[in-house]
């Protein structure tokens, strides 16, 4: 019998990066692009220094500040001495090791997973790493992109290589056509709800199907971004004309003959007919409605037309206890309709949903309306480039007129490392990616949703079905 030579997209990228097979399933892989930020890198640089090592490929390394930066007035000095220490440390490390850094003063500063794509540094077929779990975002370009811990960051800085057991390959196939008012965020939340937060553990997800092909590149980033919330090592979407058109002309994209050469190579980045995945999940996109989380991890999610579940209805004792604990933390009663739950805060931001298309979508919902009086709402663009573009289009004025705060770029209240945090008991409609206990602030209660759903919630002062709400507004 002849072994099949058909490869999946993931097999293809993996094989192209193997430097050396170290053990049966463990390979030494070459890293094309290493993204660095201020929070998970100081100990790695200290390790290099202590061992007298240098950065092997500084020109393949790109740094910015995002997690721990203030999002208020950039003309003022940072007034948090602990943050300053970390920001300064990255400045010192970047200079000493010869790494390009987009610092707070840079027009290119922003969330690391927003800036690398918009600069065109993220390209199909690459192996991309960063000391951040949402590195999976870059998979939207057909790159194998994964998050690492700090020891691995140090390893990549020193060797430009990564030691990795080969993950399995899961195909998430989205058939059909999304209904109006349903976003990429809803597709990925629906998948996580279906397979669970460990559903793709040990696997790379390849997203396929008509409902993925028709997504814009930015929407694909939203999908791949949350692969990690399903436990995946990475998410991947085969590159196509949408990808190439997005990249064409970006500052770091190839030009001239190099572009033509790259394009020819990128077009070969696909899964062969007959290639085998380890696991396959099929989701009918036409049956997915706007999603809202009700619990304390992204798998605790339901359609906005649904109700807060009753833990007693769940299958296992573990699940029943976890759900009961989650509802107690969230201050929710089983059976409560999700639409109508009152909120205190709205956060439009994060590497999941703070790109220009997200801001346009949210602005289209709030235009000419006012944020409910009891709600504090903020927009934190994913990057300073996104911010400038939004201002050029007048979106900032739309948000300001509606009563939103318009802030500077950073991770902000997605993880609340800076001053942007929820108070205890505050309930937030958030476009970010994690609703863990205390994620946005100790005692804070997070409901994850799409940008249009969060925008509608800001106006209504409660969770609403953006589809029904739009009709009501127009009536």
């Amino acid at each position: 019998m002849i072994a099949s030579t058909a490869k999946t997209l993931f097999d293809r990228i993996w094989d192209a990066h193997v430097v050396q097979q170290l053990a049966d399933d463990v390979a030494l892989l070459y890293v094309d692009l290493h993204l660095v930020h201020e929070v998970t890198s100081p100990q790695a640089f200290a390790g290099l220094r202590a061992a007298g090592r240098s950065v092997r490929r500084p020109e393949r390394t790109l740094a910015t500040v995002d997690h721990n930066v203030p999002t208020g007035d950039r003309s003022l000095p940072v007034d948090d001495p602990v943050a300053v220490r970390q920001l300064d440390a990255l400045g010192v490390n970047a200079r000493e090791f010869g790494i390009e850094l987009f610092d707070l003063a840079s027009p290119n500063q922003g969330i690391v997973h927003v800036i690398a794509p918009e600069l065109g540094a993220t390209q199909p077929g690459m192996l991309i790493v960063c000391g951040d779990s949402h590195t999976s975002t870059h998979g939207a370009f057909g790159a194998f992109a994964l998050g690492l811990g700090t020891s691995e960051v140090e390893h990549v800085l020193a060797t430009q290589c990564l030691v990795l057991p080969k993950p399995g390959n899961l195909e998430a196939h989205f058939t059909g056509v999304r209904a109006p008012g349903v976003s990429a965020k809803d597709l990925i939340l629906a998948l996580i709800g279906r397979i669970g937060t460990a559903g793709a553990a040990g696997h790379v997800i390849e997203y396929t199907g008509d409902a993925i092909r028709t997504l814009s590149l930015e929407e694909r980033m939203t999908v791949c971004n949350m692969s990690i919330e399903a436990g995946a090592r990475a998410g991947l979407i085969a590159p196509d004309d949408t990808t190439f058109e997005y990249l064409r002309g970006r500052p770091r994209a190839p030009t001239g003959a190099a572009w033509d050469h790259a394009l020819a190579r990128w077009r070969g980045l696909r899964t062969d007919p007959g290639a085998r995945y380890d696991t396959r999940v099929i989701i009918d996109a036409a049956r997915v409605g706007p999603q809202v989380t009700w619990g304390t991890h992204p798998g605790m999610v339901a359609d906005i037309t649904g109700r807060v579940p009753n833990p007693a209805d769940l299958a296992t004792d573990h699940e029943r206890r976890a759900a009961a604990r989650a509802l107690e933390y969230m201050g929710l009663t089983p059976g409560t309709p999700l639409a109508g739950i009152p909120i205190d805060r709205v956060f439009l931001g994060s590497c999941t949903n703070a790109r220009i298309e997200d801001l346009r979508a949210a602005a289209s919902v709030v235009r000419g309306l006012r944020v409910a009086p009891q709600v504090r709402a903020m927009v934190v663009p994913g990057s300073q480039r996104v911010k400038r573009e939004a201002e050029r289009e007048g979106l900032d004025q739309v948000f300001r007129d509606a009563g939103f705060e318009w802030r500077n770029a950073g991770c902000s209240m997605c993880l609340g490392m800076n001053a942007d945090v929820l108070g205890a008991g505050e309930r937030c409609a958030a476009t970010s990616n994690r609703n863990f206990e205390g994620r946005q602030g100790r005692g804070g209660r997070t409901h994850l949703m799409s940008p249009t759903m969060a925008a509608a919630a800001a106006i209504a002062g409660q969770l609403v079905d953006v589809r029904a709400w739009r009709r009501a507004e127009l009536a």
Partner: protein, 192 residues
Amino acid sequence: MEPFVRHRGSAAALPRQDVDTDQIIPKQFLRGLERTGLGASLFFDWRAQPGFELNDPATHGASILITGPNFGCGSSREHAVWALAEYGFRAIIAPSFADIFFANCCRNGVVPVQLRPGEVDTLMQRAQRATVARRYDVVVDLAELAVSDDSGFSEPFTFDPYRRELLLRGLDEIDRTLLEEPRIAEYERLHP
């Protein structure tokens, strides 16, 4: 890295699933420049809650954590492992681990042991019966790939051979990789 061959220690039970790294070490403790000083802040928010499992004096001094599936999910922060290690944990036994957390453990001499759910339940129940006067000791043997106790529990586990070797010998992974320097240079020559 301190080698890990065989460790005997008292066990603490944390019967929760999907414990994310935000719980293990909340974000306000990620603002430092060092790998140290995190142990006292382990499970910071949960420790403020009465009834949190690790507040029980019977768990104090434990070096083996027994917990539920998907432990360490979410953020890649290695601070979670640094905090667990500094608190005193040398091994964590669970039905499953999040991938990045698992990798981070292996690079800090903390051994993540995956056992079947029923086996974890057995250990969990025994650990939950421990008292200050009567600890529950477990042995994690990475050389023999087995977990055992003094009450007849003895089960094998699997571990990827490459990482096992690094742990057993306490090797620096960068030193190990740099042995492949000719291969890395060759790759770079072929992929300019």
